[in-house]
């Protein structure tokens, strides 16, 4: 009953999806979300064993500079996306690698 719906749709509202109609409300909701799925809004968490990180991202003589999270002591490291990466994915590619692969 915590859902913001009419009494007679309490059971169905979580399961059923409405058809899109002329109002364009359905597509608008989707587009609104799409517009927020940007590299500037998003965050990526990369998970692996410590030795794997060291092998891939660290140099042999230079250990990675891990921080410790305060509740469980989990080791983590935060790094901003490089500006090169961010600007590359900000634009829509003419043709993505996925499409090229299909040719």
């Amino acid at each position: 009953m915590a859902w913001p719906v009419e009494r007679d749709t309490v059971l169905s509202s979580a399961q059923l999806v409405s058809e899109w109609d002329e109002s364009g409300e359905g597509e608008k909701e989707v587009r609104d979300i799409l517009n927020t799925l940007t590299v500037d809004e998003g965050r990526a968490v990369v998970m692996a064993r410590p030795d794997e990180f060291q092998g891939v991202f660290g140099a042999e003589d230079k250990p990675l500079n891990w921080e410790s999270e305060r509740w469980y002591g989990t080791k983590y490291l935060v790094e901003r996306f490089s500006e090169e990466f961010a600007s590359r994915v900000r634009i829509t590619p003419k043709r993505s690698a996925i499409a090229s692969e299909l040719l």
Partner: protein, 169 residues
């Protein structure tokens, strides 16, 4: 980008974006709609591309309700040992954003949940074709429909053909 050490031996990337309170969007469920396309595993999908590369073992995508008035849209990629290297991680991440921007720039014809193509709808693939048909035409095919056929030959033809014709006609 956050690196987190695990105890269990696995490799994964989780990309998350903040979302508004989704129960208010109960009528059209836009986040589930997008999750359907991002997590699609058919030909031309993010999943099939990364898996073909040998980088991926599994991909899932969907909204996650975190608290009242707050949610996240998540895309989780489980990687193979080979997929876990700096350049492949970067490539996989770019493909996530390319997939999203591809959808942002395409014309959506209808909800994927309509009765005719419920839940098995290959629309994301079709949208990709629509978007790319112009460049395909430049490569010697004379019409978008033919270029679509060119692609079809590398995919599973029967499943897609009916819908393709319906959309490209």
């Amino acid at each position: 980008m956050v690196f987190v050490q695990t105890i269990m031996s696995f490799h994964a990337i989780e990309v998350s974006f903040p979302l508004s309170y989704q129960p208010a969007r109960w009528k059209y469920k836009p986040a589930n709609f997008l999750a359907h396309f991002v997590g699609h595993e058919g030909p031309g999908s993010l999943h099939s591309y990364l898996k073909q590369k040998g980088w991926l073992t599994g991909l899932s995508s969907g909204p996650q309700n975190l608290a009242r008035e707050f949610a996240m849209f998540k895309v989780t990629l489980h990687l193979t040992r080979e997929g876990f290297c700096e350049s492949f991680i970067t490539s996989s991440l770019s493909e996530v954003w390319y997939n999203v921007s591809l959808q942002r720039t395409t014309v959506m014809l209808s909800s994927p949940f309509t009765s005719t193509c419920r839940f098995s709808d290959p629309q994301s693939f079709l949208l990709g074709i629509r978007r790319n048909s112009a460049s395909l035409m430049r490569q010697g095919s004379d019409s978008p429909r033919n270029s679509a056929r060119m692609i079809m030959q590398s995919g599973c033809q029967n499943t897609w053909r009916g819908l393709l014709n319906a959309i490209l006609c």
